[in-house]
């Protein structure tokens, strides 16, 4: 039966914000592939159709209560893990990484939906364990196992960025659900000890990328190229930018992947500090709206789920923008809703759809 409150409590502001950010993304993609080009590319239309598909997915998520996801989360999680295994077995290899499944109609990147899968199963678990005293090692063991499986599978693709993102989301959710103080301190100490060890595990090129953060000028033609060109693009935008489709760094193609991971550099160059700070604020608003929905929710599962999705958007946007402005090493991480890419856009919209679902059903008992 249709409940009028579903419309009453629908978070129109969040939907509007989402659409505004996605529209900015479309304009940036158009500029990044068409500025200075002789023949025009239709890639922005493809992104638009992905946004359309994403919105359909979003609407279909409204049809049932998010509470059903609680029961279904183990199944969804298992399917996601199955897809990740399938990628390693029959995946499509592009540029040395095997991240995609060719489904005939389109190519799916299963690590994207896997993020939602992990958030669901963790919300399912933490909702049962959450307590004011916080969780100890025993309670944290399961979440660790549940997130380390996809982490390992994604790492093997190899896609360290997305793998680490899953660990960051897991950590944030555990932290939110509260970790016992003593346990937290021990874990913190362990991470601080393990981080230097990680330095020796990662590949050479990854080490170089981290080093280049501090001195991109030391190798402007090689390893520092991306980060330096990106900083030049961002910095040269100054206050008001060079204007839409007018970015010289953009036109002369100094940066590869401008329409995917480095899309923020196009914004910063062409719209200046006004534009880049503006988008940053929009993302902060998006994250705040997400947390507000978590706050409004009356049950443990919904609250933790809303927080998990918000933390996914938060980490992705922060890591992506941080990378473009030279605060983070170069990792493959799309800017949610903005970067070109079907799987990423649909996953972001799916996540926001779940947030909207939680919001509109906050007073509905079923």
């Amino acid at each position: 039966m249709f409940d009028r409150r579903l419309v009453q409590y629908f978070d129109w502001w969040l939907l509007l914000l989402t659409l505004v950010i996605a529209a900015i993304g479309l304009a940036l993609i158009y500029s990044s592939v068409n500025a200075g080009e002789v023949s025009s590319s239709k890639i922005h239309l493809r992104q638009a159709s992905w946004l359309g598909i994403g919105l359909l997915v979003m609407v279909s998520v409204f049809l049932f209560s998010y509470k059903k996801l609680d029961r279904w989360s183990p199944v969804i999680y298992t399917v996601c893990i199955g897809l990740l295994i399938a990628v390693l077995v029959v995946g499509k290899t592009v540029g040395g990484s095997t991240r995609w499944l060719d489904l005939g109609l389109f190519v799916l990147q299963p690590s994207e939906p896997a993020k939602i899968g992990v958030i669901l199963i963790l919300a399912h678990y933490f909702a049962k364990k959450v307590s004011p005293g916080g969780m100890g090692f025993r309670e944290l063991l399961w979440p660790l196992v549940l997130s380390i499986i996809p982490f390992g599978l994604i790492w093997m693709q190899p896609d360290l960025g997305t793998g680490l993102l899953i660990m960051l989301i897991t950590g944030s959710m555990a932290f939110f659900a509260k970790i016992e103080r003593r346990t937290f301190l021990i874990l913190l100490a362990a991470v601080l000890i393990l981080l230097p060890l990680g330095w020796f595990i990662i590949e050479d090129y990854q080490r170089t990328r981290i080093l280049m953060l501090f001195a991109p000028e030391s190798d402007p033609r090689g390893a520092g190229y991306h980060i330096l060109q990106s900083k030049i693009a961002v910095g040269s935008g100054m206050i008001y930018g060079k204007g839409f489709m007018e970015g010289t760094q953009n036109i002369l193609s100094f940066l590869p992947e401008q329409h995917t991971d480095f899309i923020f550099s196009v914004l910063a160059e062409e719209w200046g500090f006004a534009g880049s700070a503006g988008l940053l604020i929009l993302f902060f608003l998006l994250v705040s709206f997400g947390l507000n929905i978590a706050h409004g929710c009356r049950d443990d599962f919904g609250t933790i789920l809303a927080f998990g999705i918000t933390s996914m958007i938060f980490w992705q946007s922060v890591i992506n923008i941080g990378m473009v402005i030279g605060l983070m090493p170069v990792v493959g991480m799309p800017l949610p809703l903005v970067s070109y890419g079907g799987s990423s856009v649909v996953t972001s919209l799916l996540g926001i759809g779940i947030l909207l679902n939680i919001s509109m059903r906050r007073f509905v008992k079923d």
């Binding site: 002789v38 590319s41 100054m238 993302f283």
Partner: protein
């Protein structure tokens, strides 16, 4: 850190009455989180402020003087060779004429000067430049592709009056022999925007070429190679001042095919002026030795980015030159199909090798009369005679006793009615009719009278020349059905073998050794017995040939009607179009086959007289070439 116990005690309410975790607790957690997130966003904002405002001037000047650029180095596409290592396809350098709009001023003057060298009007040139000029005009605009060396020389010496012109070198596909095996080798074409978006060729970019048809397409991944990058310093106008570093491109692998250059050339020569196809197969392993289809086309059209008009012309040509008739066209197999009916009759013990049928030239079934091709009849025929003289009545009788489904079962097990699995696109499966097929297709039951034409390869039967060739090869080698192979090996430029093929046996003919022996005797007599259908046309002094003729009716009923018309009612062309297709399938030498051949000539009329001599010349020329290689060795008993 706040815990629930703190807050609950403040309210003075016993802890146990509260839910384990309440709204207030979550509110505190969430406020803490949003604070953290706010701090992180502030750090990003500070860095943006730092880069864009504090250091904005610095980066702005860097951007203006930014002279380091990454360029892409196109890989060279791999070469294609024949089975003996003879070069068939490689690349040649081509010179493309570009103009940098920003440097070309005054544009009208430059356009006028340039128009004297190339076949375009000054207006066209200035229009081209202004319409493709980007916001800065630094990006070179393509004016003419593949200019001649002479023109390049002239342009270079007149550089002073042609400011802004740039000549860039690129590689073009080069076919060392014009119109050589175009249906097999195929061609390349510009990548489409759809393929780019679907990321089907991850290393390709707009304007790159990809294999479209044939070997070029099948082995696209091996042939294409990987692009490299070059870091260059550019001048203010975007021209390369110096190369700073290079990560070279990886050239594509070379593909060595199974086809034999001389034999392929022979096949193409034999098909000249005719419409038809020839497949030659090594029966011992399934290697395709030659694959010719006529009419053919010039692949060079495609390597130079074919124009729409040329493409339309090729596509709409009623003779369909783009079609690979060896594997994409199907024809009724006609009498060549009697190999299948004979196999079924022997295996199902409908006949043994001694039983005879008396052929009077006609065969009655119910109230219908079916004719033998020889109106006066063959007299007593055993199965060997019936094959060698191609007696229809014998096979009508065999067909009636077998029934359509039993014949179909042998045909399918012999590889007909399904794709052979050759590694080339769009292979036609052909058709083996059965009673249930007809019910599904037409909603009608099978009539006994329809089995008779099927038994002699007419009726609904459809096969490709390749299928018939593979069948013949299997009969020749003692029953092994191999997958037809077109590639021997793929070699990288370092000389290492990346991939190679070994014979792949897909199955065995559904026939015992004795059955095959009887069929081979029949096929031997076709060519070597005085009464054999191909005795006068195919028998060779050089080598023992076995084979089977076939004459496929095009539209039997129509021909009957036309017989009734007067000659001046029918044009010459219509008459030709109604002539039957001529088939010959065979192998040589008969006792130890080295080559199997399948020939079809559309509207060639007589299987023996038209297709036969072509097949004979193919086999003779191959065996001759083969023995030439062994010329140094004494040939014991070479009188045969």
């Amino acid at each position: 850190m706040n815990t629930l116990s703190d807050s609950s005690k403040k309210n003075g309410v016993p802890e146990r009455f509260f839910p384990k975790v309440d709204q207030e607790w979550y509110r505190r957690r969430l406020s803490k989180m949003i604070l953290w997130m706010f701090v992180v966003f502030c750090i990003l904002l500070v860095q943006l402020f730092n880069l864009q405002i504090l250091q904005g001037d610095h980066y702005s000047s860097l951007s203006e003087n930014n002279s380091i650029r990454k360029q892409r180095i196109q890989p060279l596409r791999g070469h294609i060779y024949d089975r003996n290592g003879l070069l068939l396809v490689d690349n040649r350098p081509a010179f493309d004429l570009y103009i940098v709009p920003a440097d070309a001023s005054p544009i009208n003057e430059t356009a006028k000067n340039l128009a004297r060298f190339i076949s375009r009007s000054p207006d066209e040139i200035s229009e081209l430049i202004s319409s493709h000029r980007g916001p800065y005009g630094y990006r070179p605009v393509l004016v003419k592709t593949d200019i001649s060396r002479d023109l390049m020389g002239q342009l270079m010496t007149r550089r002073y009056e042609l400011p802004g012109i740039v000549i860039q070198t690129s590689a073009r596909r080069n076919y060392t022999h014009e119109r050589f095996a175009p249906h097999l080798i195929g061609y390349i074409g510009e990548i489409s925007s759809g393929e780019l978006m679907a990321n089907r060729y991850p290393h390709k970019r707009g304007g790159d070429m990809v294999g479209r048809v044939g070997v070029e397409r099948t082995f696209e991944e091996s042939l294409s190679g990987y692009p490299g990058t070059r870091v260059v310093q550019v001048t203010a106008t975007g021209q390369v001042a110096s190369v700073l570093g290079e990560d070279p491109a990886v050239p594509g692998h070379n593909v060595h095919l199974t086809i034999d250059f001389d034999l392929q050339l022979t096949a193409q020569r034999l098909l000249e002026g005719k419409t038809g196809a020839i497949a030659a197969i090594d029966p011992s392993n399934g290697d395709i030795l030659a694959m010719a289809s006529s009419p053919s086309y010039d692949q060079r059209l495609f390597s130079d980015r074919i124009s729409t008009r040329q493409w339309q012309k090729l596509v709409s040509d009623p003779e369909r030159p783009l079609q690979n008739r060896v594997m994409q066209s199907t024809y009724p197999p006609a009498s060549a199909y009697k190999i299948i009916t004979a196999m079924a009759a022997l295996e199902e013990t409908v006949f043994d090798d001694k039983e005879t049928v008396f052929c009077t030239g006609r065969y009655r079934l119910g109230d219908r009369t079916f004719r033998c091709w020889r109106r006066e009849g063959h007299g007593h025929q055993d199965i060997v005679d019936a094959l060698s003289e191609s007696c229809d009545v014998f096979f009508y009788d065999a067909g009636k006793q077998l029934g359509v489904d039993r014949i179909a079962s042998y045909a399918r097990q012999s590889g007909l009615g399904q794709r052979t699995g050759i590694d080339l696109g769009n292979e036609a499966p052909g058709l083996v009719p059965t009673a249930s097929w007809k019910r599904n297709r037409f909603g009608e039951p099978w009539f006994a009278g329809e089995t008779l034409p099927v038994a002699i390869g007419q009726g609904y039967n459809l096969t490709t020349p390749l299928q018939m060739g593979m069948l013949t090869a299997a009969v020749a080698n003692g029953g092994s059905m191999y997958k037809p192979q077109i590639m021997r090996f793929v070699q990288n430029v370092g000389g290492n073998i990346e991939k190679s093929t070994s014979p792949e046996e897909l199955g065995r003919l559904p026939a015992s050794d004795e059955t095959l022996e009887i069929i081979r005797e029949g096929l031997y007599n076709v060519v070597n017995h005085r009464n054999g259908t191909a005795y006068w046309h195919v028998r060779s002094d050089e080598v023992d040939i076995s084979g089977k003729t076939g004459t496929a009716q095009v539209i039997s009923r129509l021909t009957e009607e036309i017989d009734l018309m007067t000659t001046d009612e029918i044009s010459e062309e219509t008459r030709r179009r109604l002539l039957p297709h001529a088939w010959f399938v065979g192998y040589a030498p008969s006792d130890d086959p080295e080559i199997a051949v399948s020939v079809i000539i559309e509207h060639g009329e007589g299987g023996a007289s038209t297709a036969g001599p072509i097949a004979k010349e193919m086999m003779e020329s191959y065996i001759r070439g083969y023995s030439l290689e062994n010329l140094m060795e004494p040939l014991p008993g070479s009188g045969q």
